[in-house]
Symmetry: C2
Subunit: 355 residues, 2 copies
């Protein structure tokens, strides 16, 4: 039976890297005998917003809920639509309504990609950031008082539920179980953020009891970001709240030099709703339309999608193809950001051929 994939390219370079993502997925599907059926949607982009006054049609939930996965490009074009409108109107809706409570991002040094850190080489850095993706600091509760006066005050509530915290911790501990080092690091700030963060620590301590084989440590977010730079080799699985996870999952790929090519998965682990796979890079209005965007983030996200659908071998083959093409370093093939003179298409093609 075919796996039904909803494709939403979104804005800017999202529309350019998406065809390459699909190209490589189709190559992998062919080689590993997987039946993928892609359906493309126009909504979830700023152009759609300009035409319809909203990012998504009213029945988007029903249109999408039956799919096995969502393959997303990038959303946002601040000159057309303010970010908080385009993002809360699309990506953040999917995450919440489809209860994609895990955001998973690998941070790994790749061959052929220069790390900004001194003296680090592939193998030295290889960890995952697991981010809570539906509650916490990203809340819609709060408001303004004494508006427009000197006494103006703005309040926004961070909301953590036991259900919300425990389920992301469980996912992270389970992931740590599958890794050779079996190590979990919790991001906290309980010395300063004195109500929610001590609670987070409490739940980590509680969950840790059920995983005696896992080595658990925690760092306050300030020193944790410092340690990403100073000791990236310390980390294996790092788990954080919505905001802390957001920060760490940009900083991690920055430390490996892979922020332009990193993938991410927004997962509903129970499979009750479709999960969503998207590159970490945004829509990059500054280079959009030139055909020079690096498609690896989209392709690597496709690999995570295949793994999620149960095809680990096929996903691994996609990542190996990416690494092989990067290692070869053919400047006719590689895009500019990784030192070549090639195009989005030349790089996508080369990776597809490898498979």
């Amino acid at each position: 039976m075919a796996h039904r994939i909803a494709v939403i390219a979104g804005d800017g370079i999202g529309t350019e890297v998406m065809p390459e993502g699909i190209r490589v997925l189709e190559a992998a599907a062919k080689r590993f005998n997987i039946d993928l059926a892609f359906t493309t949607f126009e909504f979830g982009s700023c152009d759609y917003y300009l035409e319809h006054g909203k990012m998504l049609p009213d029945d988007w939930f029903d249109q999408l809920k039956g799919f096995d996965a969502l393959f997303y490009g990038a959303v946002g074009w601040p000159d057309k639509v303010p970010d908080h409108i385009s993002l809360w109107g699309s990506l953040l809706q999917f995450r919440r309504q489809f209860d994609q409570y895990i955001n998973l991002r690998p941070c790994r040094l790749m061959p052929g990609i220069k790390s900004p850190l001194a003296g680090r080489k592939p193998g030295d850095i290889d960890f995952y950031v697991v981010r809570e993706n539906t509650e916490g600091e990203y809340s819609s509760v709060g408001g303004k008082m004494y508006e427009g006066t000197e006494r103006e005050i703005v309040i926004q509530e961070t909301v953590m539920s036991r259900t919300g915290v425990d389920r992301v911790l469980k996912y992270a501990f389970d992931l740590a179980q599958t890794r050779p080092r079996k190590k979990l690091t919790s991001a906290t700030k309980s010395n300063g953020i004195s109500i929610t963060m001590p609670y987070w620590d409490e739940r980590v301590a509680e969950m840790a009891k059920q995983y005696p084989e896992i080595a658990v440590d925690k760092f306050h977010i300030d020193i944790l970001t410092a340690n990403f730079v100073l000791h990236p080799d310390w980390f294996d699985v790092v788990v954080g709240s919505n905001l802390f996870g957001d920060i760490l999952s940009d900083l991690g790929p920055a430390c490996t030099g892979t922020i332009g090519v990193a993938p991410s998965a927004n997962i509903n682990p129970e499979g009750k709703f479709p999960s969503l796979f998207e590159p970490v890079h945004g829509s990059a209005p500054d280079i959009a339309g030139q055909g020079i965007a690096n498609p690896i983030g989209q392709i690597w996200s496709g690999a995570m999608m295949l793994e999620h659908l149960g095809y680990k071998e096929a996903g691994d083959a996609m990542v190996e193809a990416i690494e092989a093409v990067l290692s070869e370093g053919d400047s006719q093939v590689l895009t500019r950001d990784v030192g070549g003179q090639g195009t989005t298409e030349s790089l996508g093609n080369a990776i597809a051929e490898r498979i």
Copy 2:
């Protein structure tokens, strides 16, 4: 007339680096003819807590409010007192009750100190983080419901006032005015944290109108942490909320390799209350008691204190002395963290002699 300085060494290595801070301050005071009068206090440490059941005596405010500055070592010893108790009971009280609404930290590559970033040398990185220090995410408003049940929920409010936001922005813009590059970067997350952060952006835009000579930009905190690693040379003055400033002012010194030696100032700019000067490093229980802690953070904090008291030349001379001793690289003098075999005292002595 003498400047009255309250000295609180606090915990762990705080008690070891403090004498060196004072030694170098006294050398600078002698050379520049400044009259400093130090008064030492035992409170504000975990040992005080164990004896008295509180971090500070009830009349601490009255005891300290008449001083011209507070010179602080480090507080915290989790095995004795949980961090959120020791910190909310001391440092965070000072910041709030003495309305030290500015937290200022320099991020600078120093001669003789290795940066974890590839290919950066002194001169390449030199910026300030200005952090809001009294409100925002560090609030004491919130609580727990359905405690101990599956439905448990924890809420903590981020509170931003116009007064609180505007005054830190004004300080940061004023600081940017004094710098050759006249550049200000605002840390935000208005695409995700949809109530407080768009408000922060609004106030930045409003304040910017009064400083047409300042080049202003903003980044979301996730990509901003990435850019600290990828493009630290972009920054001049970076301003952020309490939490974002906390993160950036650890990450910045981490990128320059100076996290063990960085200083910080907690400032009440109006001088209505004393300001507080402390090293960024904590009490470091793991190396406490061995006499090997690097005293530069304490000494550099002393330099910021002298500058705050109106003696810029003397403060600069202290920083120059630090740089000179680091450049010389005498391994008998330097502490282990910077490649030597010396002690806290040998390094403090060498810097004092330079002055």
